[in-house]
């Protein structure tokens, strides 16, 4: 498996660390309540299809990356720097 790091280009999967759903970028307000926090930290859409998840190019430049990917085929549709994505969602 290969992923395209927005900084380094296409690299072997072994250089990357995987964290999970990119929902992690949308951290709730501390006062949002336990259901919202439970959803944020635990519950997942877990799609059999296109998903967005968070990886770090740990064995490379260190960038955290949002990868848009298909969980059925492993096709990679898009990659973007997490800091850019976060910047755009606020």
């Amino acid at each position: 498996m290969r992923l395209t790091c927005p900084v380094c280009g296409e690299r072997d999967r072994r250089e990357f660390y995987y964290m999970g759903d990119a929902v992690a970028l949308r951290r709730p307000d501390p006062e949002a309540g336990d259901a919202v926090w439970d959803d944020y930290l635990h519950n997942r859409d877990n799609p059999a299809g296109v998903t967005r998840d968070l990886w770090q190019h740990e064995g490379g430049c260190g960038a955290w990356i949002v990868v848009t990917r298909n969980t059925m085929t492993h096709e990679v549709l898009e990659t973007a720097l997490a800091s850019d994505v976060k910047g755009s969602v606020g």
């Binding site: 498996m1 290969r2 072997d12 660390y17 968070l54 960038a63 976060k86």
Partner: protein, 976 residues
């Protein structure tokens, strides 16, 4: 038997080798199989279950019968296909799965018991009495199962792994692959051409048909010569592409030195990770047998294998050969044999419309329905409309048609589709992105077709790569139609083999269907068909057809067959190359490593690091003596310990303080420059992630310390928090763990030691407790932190790592002069237990700030990672197990870590378990064992007596629950 004038082997280069204890001769270019056949050796193996004698069946890597063991001693290599193993001078091969010998195998008694050993028999018996399974039935089954044996010794051979990159990977170097590679290479693409054979050419080497007017093998060689001269081509011989993976990654096994008597330092095998922008599969096809009664006798081979042995190796596998086929292609075998002067006794074809020949009798509409011969084929019985008859023969060439080698196209869950035309499965386009197919593997079974498709596939690839190409002339080649009429199993009594290796017969498949294992997956799992070393390459399609017949369905409705990597079995040593011994993970050495080893310190692993356990002094015979001395030394004089392995992270930027406030539970933006503060870090789920001290070296400059184990994870976490949660903060992190060698100097004499070493005057004003800053040490700019993990007046002193060794030796000498010295991990552990300081033994991933009594460190003035979730009801309160100290109070004085805690008098059961011990040590300071542990509602239970039970070490100790700080609870020493 060798045939004069035939074959590509080098008759000028005789090679002697051993098989089954006898020495034989072959020629350079022979495989073990061809050389054995040349020597008229027929029985080379025994089957898996019935221990039936078996001979060579094919001529390729899919060989189901001729598996042998190569070599002896630690290097012995089991289950090697004789059809792939090239011979070399001194090669030693042995038969396997037989006892006492290949010819007399006692377990062939299984063959007589076959009626009781049908598909799945073991699910129905061996259940009584229960205890007999492990003691009797299973050991017997295990001993009789299995094929070859491992040596039971450490692998002595070198293996290697490598990466390669190319524009186009061509898998298989037959006519399609060669011309595809040539087309792409001439256009300038970076090409890798891999073939599992030692010789490129594929079937061309086993056939007599011409290509472009030349013998096929010569044409192949001419293409290889051209490719070899091109700088943009890498030819990989003896290299099997074993798997297709995501984004154009392929695994490939190169058998580097299996064919060499002298490897000259080369590895035995190399496992390649090939990244290809495009790939073309040109893997050819595999001829399939036909199932009929006793179709497994030595001497019964595939028709193409017989042809290959004749044309490539100059070997006739028999003197009176018969042929049984259902397609035109196979008749070429009879033709070639006759041309070479070998006697053809008869040709049986199940069809009526069959190619003519005057050279041998042809039986139309005929089926072979039985064979005989004790240790090899002696005769076959055949059936025609006019009844049964028998023909004497020592070799039967069988062809049930061809199955495309489409395996790689299925490696990403793709399913092939059924082709009525060739009565087999063919690949579906796009099953592996970027992989096209050409030639026989896509069902095109003529050389002309293969060449045409090879060029076409290359052109498709080049277009996708954006590389311009010129027209390429396709040489003239054989283009006879492949006519096949389905014949899977000849009707009749007795056992007809489908999966030769696993001894799965037509009966077994039918039996499975009858017992409702009617889906193909159930049938395979129930009968074990397709699970043998050939992975069903020889049997899957036929077994599916038999199952379809048994269940009254068509083949496509019955199911498809799928394939998983690897295409051929791959040794664990190849894919795991480099890891044997210490290679599994990098070793990390501190700058004081050599000095510690000189002192006789046993070095222990701490993650990837090595740290000294203790420093034995003359006369000390146990680690405890050393440890006690070292603890006393720190408490009474001064000790030195390398703490460089702790993670150190440089954090800089205008928002560094704000950032730290967010990742730590407590405030750091308020920390004064020149001061250090203990910090607690949570995961977002509210449990403790790590702890450590962070120093503020400047207004916008901090240095964070992590535990050794968490250095990597914390660095990743910080980057995560910054990049993913608060990228707006202007802050940057970089690890400085490696930059600084850092040593703890601890004990009442620590200040005296340092004052003699540095120019600056160290006192409580210049370096108060938790003070930090730059300092010059013998001309070297370093850093000094007044922090303590021992509870003593202590410092950590850091210098750039190149000076680490020098400073360590200097500190050691000075400490010893003051009555102190070095201390290791054991003493460090006792010192911190005495003080109730926690490590990852306590913060093991399930504890909260509340559990360790630090809930007040979670600042209420700000948000931080983990704060919200740490407030969940289940993470707080009296039900939680809380950190406590434990002291033995009864006659048993010993404590152990990993024991459980119970109320006094309670039975030591799970229901009664109230906690457990995490760290224990003998405190020479307090003259007794001390323990840290977690106890339900423990903070409210100080003074209570509990029972520590360690079933595993047979220990029950009465303990008093106390505060985890055993020594100097007021903390006077650290400030004094």
């Amino acid at each position: 038997m060798r045939i004069a004038g035939k074959g590509l082997v080098d008759r000028q280069a005789p090679v002697s080798f051993r098989f089954d204890g006898h020495t034989y001769q072959g020629f350079a270019g022979d495989t073990l199989a061809s050389a054995l056949l040349a020597n008229d050796i027929r029985v080379v193996a025994r089957s898996f279950k019935y221990h039936r004698p078996r001979g060579v069946m094919g001529a390729g890597s899919e060989e189901a019968n001729a598996l042998v063991t190569i070599g002896s001693g630690a290097a012995q290599d089991p289950n090697v296909r004789a059809t792939v193993q090239e011979i070399y001078e001194g090669l030693e091969a042995r038969p396997q799965n037989c006892w006492p010998s290949l010819t007399v195998d006692l377990l062939s008694v299984n063959d007589l018991a076959a009626p009781f050993l049908g598909a799945g028999f073991y699910y129905k018996t061996f259940m009584w009495p229960r205890a007999f399974w492990e003691k009797l039935y299973e050991p017997v089954i295990r001993r009789s199962a299995g094929l070859g044996a491992l040596s039971h010794q450490h692998n002595p051979d070198a293996y290697e792994k490598a990466f390669a990159f190319c524009d186009l990977l061509v898998i298989g170097g037959g006519p399609a692959g060669l011309i595809a590679a040539l087309t792409a290479a001439r256009a300038g693409a970076d090409v890798i051409l891999a073939d599992e054979d030692s010789l490129f050419g594929g079937r061309l080497n086993g056939d007599v048909e011409t290509v472009g007017g030349m013998p096929g093998a010569e044409w192949a060689q001419s293409i290889v010569d051209e490719l070899e001269a091109m700088p943009n081509v890498r030819l990989m011989r003896r290299t099997t592409v074993t798997g297709a993976y995501d984004q154009g990654t392929y695994g490939a096994l190169e058998r580097v030195a299996h064919h060499l008597a002298d490897r000259g330092g080369q590895p035995l095998e190399c496992f390649w990770r090939i990244v290809a922008r495009r790939a073309i599969l040109c893997a050819g096809a595999i001829e399939r047998p036909i199932a009929f009664r006793n179709n497994d006798r030595p001497g019964i081979m595939t028709a193409s294998a017989v042809r290959t042995y004749l044309n490539r190796y100059g070997v006739a596998p028999g003197r009176r050969i018969t042929l049984f086929a259902n397609n035109d292609d196979a008749h070429r075998t009879a033709r070639d044999l006759v041309d070479a002067g070998v006697h053809i006794a008869a040709v049986f074809d199940s069809r009526r419309d069959v190619p003519e020949s005057n050279a041998y009798p042809i039986y139309r509409g005929a089926e072979v329905c039985n064979t005989s011969g004790r240790r090899g084929l002696e005769s076959v019985t055949f059936r025609t409309a006019s009844g049964e008859d028998k023909v004497e023969t020592d070799c039967l060439a069988v062809s049930g048609g061809w199955n495309p080698s489409l395996h790689l196209t299925c490696h990403m869950n793709g399913r092939p589709q059924w082709s009525e035309a060739i009565q087999s499965f063919v690949p579906v386009e796009g099953m592996v992105p970027g992989l096209d197919t050409a030639g026989a593997c896509r069902g095109t079974l003529t050389t002309h077709g293969a060449l045409q498709e090879g060029v076409a596939a290359a052109q498709v690839a080049l277009e996708a790569l954006g590389i311009a190409f010129d027209k390429i002339d396709i040489p003239e080649a054989e283009d006879a139609p492949y006519r096949v009429s389905p014949l899977w199993a000849v009707a009749g009594k007795g056992r007809a083999w489908l999966d030769f290796q696993n001894d799965v017969t037509v009966k077994d498949v039918k039996q499975a269907a009858k017992e409702n294992f009617a889906s193909v997956e159930h049938m395979k799992r129930y009968t074990t068909q397709g699970m043998s070393p050939d992975q069903g390459k020889n049997s899957n399609v036929a077994a599916l057809a038999v199952l379809a017949d048994a269940t009254g369905r068509g083949i496509p409705e019955t199911g498809t067959t799928t394939f998983r990597p690897p295409f051929v079995p791959v040794s664990i040593a190849a894919m795991g190359a480099g890891a044997q011994g210490a290679g599994f993970a990098p070793q990390r050495f501190t700058t004081s490593h050599a000095a510690s080893v000189e002192r006789g310190a046993p070095m222990i692993e701490a993650g990837l690091w090595y740290r000294p356990s203790y420093f034995p002094a003359p006369g000390e015979t146990t680690w405890r003596q050393s440890c006690d001395r070292e603890v006393n030394m720190v408490r009474n004089a001064v000790g030195v310990c390398d703490v460089s392995t702790l993670g150190k992270i440089d954090i800089q930027g205008p928002d560094a303080g704000a950032f730290l406030d967010f990742v730590y539970t407590n405030m750091f933006s308020t920390l004064k420059v020149g001061r250090t503060r203990y910090g607690l870090m949570l995961r977002e789920d509210g449990t403790v992630m790590d702890d450590g001290t962070t120093a503020r070296l400047g207004e916008t400059h901090f240095v964070m310390t992590t535990t050794t184990a968490a250095a990597g994870p914390v660095m990743r976490h910080l980057e995560y928090v910054h990049q993913c949660l608060c990228p707006e903060l202007d802050v940057s992190m970089i690890s400085v763990t490696e930059q600084w060698a850092q040593f703890a100097v601890a004990g009442p004499q620590s200040r005296a030691l340092l004052n003699a070493l540095v120019d600056e005057d160290i006192n409580d004003d210049t370096w108060p407790f938790m003070g930090c800053g730059d300092i010059i040490i013998q001309g070297v700019r370093g850093r000094l932190f007044r922090i303590s993990f021992s509870g003593e007046h202590a410092y950590e002193i850091a210098v750039p790592s190149r000076f680490g060794n020098g400073l360590f030796r200097e500190l050691t000498a000075r400490a010893e002069a003051l009555g102190g010295g070095l201390y290791g991990m054991e003493a460090l552990n006792v010192l911190r237990i005495e003080k109730g300081f926690i490590t990852h033994a306590e913060i093991h991933g399930r504890v909260t700030a509340f559990d360790i009594g630090m809930e007040r460190m979670v600042s209420q003035k700000k948000d931080c990672i983990g704060k919200t979730m740490s407030e969940r009801p289940g993470l707080n309160g009296p039900e939680r197990e809380q950190l406590v100290g434990l002291k033995p109070i009864g006659p048993v004085k010993q404590l152990t870590a990993g024991a459980h805690l119970f109320e006094k008098g309670a039975a030591p059961t799970r229901e009664n378990a109230q906690g457990y011990t995490t760290s224990v040590g003998f405190s020479p300071t307090l003259d007794g064992f001390l323990g840290l542990g977690f106890l339900r509602n423990g903070r409210a239970r100080h003074g209570e007596e509990v029972m520590m039970v360690d079933h595993l070490r047979n220990l029950t100790t009465r303990c008093k629950v106390c505060d985890p700080v055993f020594f100097d609870p007021e903390g006077g020493r650290v400030r004094g």
